[in-house]
Subunit: 447 residues, 2 copies
């Protein structure tokens, strides 16, 4: 029956009768149409593509065998490929790319990179912050059964056009990455040996959707000169070179420092006034909201302050020191997160250390503060109250300074962006509340 339909289709194609074609394939699954297309010659394939809905065409292509995919893609113009890809999920596109011959895959990816067809790059879902977004196709990939002599010849041919020459990527017959070979080893190996004999089959690779920050951690951990990007079938899509990794590290670091400082995105000293306003003002409004929370807390105790005005002068010390201590914890935790060294699951016990640190540092700074206040205002109880409030607020600072960034990280939010605001809200509100609350409780001792 399939053969009958095939014949009917070819006839309909010959007549360019779109209506007839649709009738024939109307009740067929894409996979079945794909099977029929397998037997088509190039001309029929192109005619079919021209007459069909692109959405259906894309579905068929997704289901087709690797051979058909490759043959078909080769026939099409670049813009047609982009059109088809626009109906596919990026998994499928990545699969199809993986099954193309290396040369073609490189060309396609290069055209995507060229920027005039940003479209396809976006379709691919290779976010610019992912491995796929920063990879290059300027690498040397050789089949594992090549001899050293043949390899050297190839390397001399391709070498001048590539970014990385020290590391040669080794593929098997199915174009899967099975190892990497060091040019050093190739240079000294006997001519007749094969790449497979001297390669290191323990290559570290990443998938295209991996975040660039993770890639940079891998490269820096293993001192790699380049890291291969492969799809889930282990086909080589591209490589990321160490100089791009440096850019990533610098960029991520800039982002972290600016976000920690309350600047939402890239800003330079010579950015325009307008850009600076846009980057900073929204953040100040958020800060203002938390400042009002703190002010509201103070407002609750206006009667107490009216009776003991010394409290007004002393209360910023408690809140401020809490903020400072919390920021210290925050910095250590956020940096450890960025370096991939810490997770809530693995390091939750460290919260006890932070709390203990809060008690010790709170007591150390609190005792000095207490003594100075006692000397200034002549009331020992004021000193005792601020001593207690300092310990309490520094414990809170350690607790939240540790927990907030790790919880944000777990929820997929950049801890550098939002941690500080939550933290200072906590230390301000709790700081004022603790100090003024204690003062209210022991008001009779202060008067």
């Amino acid at each position: 029956m399939i053969e009958e339909r095939q014949k009917a289709l070819i006839n309909a194609l010959f007549e360019k009768n779109r209506y007839k074609i649709c009738e024939i394939i109307d009740d067929m699954f894409p996979i079945d149409i794909a099977i029929i297309l397998e037997e088509f010659d190039d001309k029929n394939l192109l005619d079919f593509h021209q007459l069909m809905e692109k959405e259906l065409m894309a579905e068929i292509l997704e289901q087709a065998s690797e051979e058909l995919q490759t043959r078909f893609i080769k026939l099409l113009k670049f813009q047609d490929i982009v059109n088809l890809f626009s109906y596919m999920s990026n998994d499928d596109i990545t699969d199809i790319l993986g099954s193309l011959p290396i040369k073609m895959r490189k060309d396609l990816l290069k055209m995507m990179k060229a920027g005039d067809t940003k479209q396809l790059q976006e379709l691919l879902g290779y976010n610019e912050d992912t491995a796929g977004g920063i990879m290059t196709t300027e690498y040397i990939a050789l089949k594992s059964d090549l001899t050293i002599g043949e390899s050297l010849k190839k390397i001399k041919e391709i070498g001048p056009k590539t970014e990385v020459i020290e590391t040669i990527f080794v593929l098997n017959k199915n174009k899967e990455l099975i190892g990497i070979a060091d040019l050093r080893d190739i240079l000294i190996a006997p001519e007749e040996k094969r790449l497979a004999d001297i390669m290191d089959d323990n290559a570290i690779s990443v998938n295209p959707e991996v975040d660039q920050e993770e890639v940079s951690l891998l490269v820096s951990k293993y001192d790699l000169k380049a890291i291969p990007v492969v799809n889930h079938k282990n086909s080589l899509l591209g490589i990321i070179t160490v100089d791009d990794i440096i850019d990533v590290i610098v960029e991520e670091q800039t982002e972290d420092i600016l976000r920690l400082g309350g600047v939402s995105r890239e800003e330079r000293v010579d950015s325009t006034l307008l850009i600076s306003i846009i980057r900073r003002l929204p953040w100040l409004f958020i800060n203002l909201a938390t400042a009002f929370l703190a002010a509201f807390t103070v407002g609750l105790f206006e009667d107490v302050i009216a009776q003991v005005v010394a409290l007004a002068a002393a209360m910023p010390i408690v809140a401020g020191m809490g903020g400072n201590a919390g920021t210290q914890t925050l910095s250590v935790v956020i940096r450890s997160i960025a370096l991939g060294e810490v997770s809530l699951k693995k390091n939750w016990k460290s919260i006890f250390k932070e709390v203990a640190l809060g008690v010790i540092n709170g007591a150390a700074t609190g005792v000095i503060t207490g003594i100075i206040l006692y000397m200034k205002y002549g009331n020992p109880y004021l000193g005792l109250i601020i001593f207690g409030a300092m310990i309490g607020n520094l414990v809170i600072a350690g607790f939240f300074g540790f927990l907030i960034p790790l919880l944000l990280k777990m929820s997929g939010i950049d801890p550098a962006l939002a941690s500080a605001i939550f933290l200072t809200t906590a230390t301000d509100v709790f700081g004022f509340f603790l100090f003024l609350g204690l003062a209210k409780m022991f008001l009779h001792l202060l008067l």
Copy 2:
């Protein structure tokens, strides 16, 4: 006369008569002694070295010709060399190292790196944060008159032992670095060409005392795989590879983030409690001192607060928002400094932008704050006063946030370390002073 002395010296050496030797050379300058030593055979040289004061010996060596230096160093045991070097300035040591044959220089530096003789490394003055401190000797340096064929043979020989193979460093007869050759170009060049023909004679290099942060900026700017380290005579001392540069960048970034957060040195989430206390408590004490400055400022206005308690609740808003806005400016400037993009000389005009930004952001947040306070306390003048104080404090924040890190940088102090403390002191003290001062001036309107 020199010949006479030479003969006398050799006789004295033969007799191992230290007293006689000293008598002979007593009135001679080191350079003259060096000239006499030129004619000594190895045995006499060694005897002389054994009998002489090491300090004098070091002076003579400094003045000697490169040939004598090399011959002499070759005769000595490693520990003797270290001893002599201990009397020399690191400039002279670097000079002598530069005149040694590459192999020997590498061996010496490798031994220094080995760590069992940290001593020499310290003597060299190669601080661990400088190019000299992070360089390696695992490179390939070839003479410029070698043919491509000869070069390839050498590369195959040395290659497996080096860290960098893609970049070959090219030296002239005087062992000065005159260019770099790309392995790609060597692979495709005709066998009979010479290295000098295909090398790039525009190599970027650094001196050993250059700060590692500057080195990393160069490597990242020019996408280098390795950067050569040369002494002031342009002799190749070592190279720094890109993977070490990544470590430098990560390390410097960690330092910046931690210092900005008020943690003086490297600390991890799993550092011990004691380490955390040592790293953080001193910083909290400094913060405490500035907190007291702020509290003292508030204390000046206790009479005003006693009459208008609402001021106590509102004043942390002014100080806090100033701190936030200043931190934004600080982050942008400190990051730009770290990336080598900014200097006070070049970018001083940007301070006007920061001041303008302070006016605009101060007005935007101040008007909201003013309205809310007016609504809460029913006094329009309280709203106007906080509006004015917010603008004033955000201008101060922008002014100091810009100026402090650049001034610290100019004075050779790490801006990440000390900027925040100066800034928050400024925004706290000025913030409270402005707001409460204005309130005192217009007290009759608030009552």
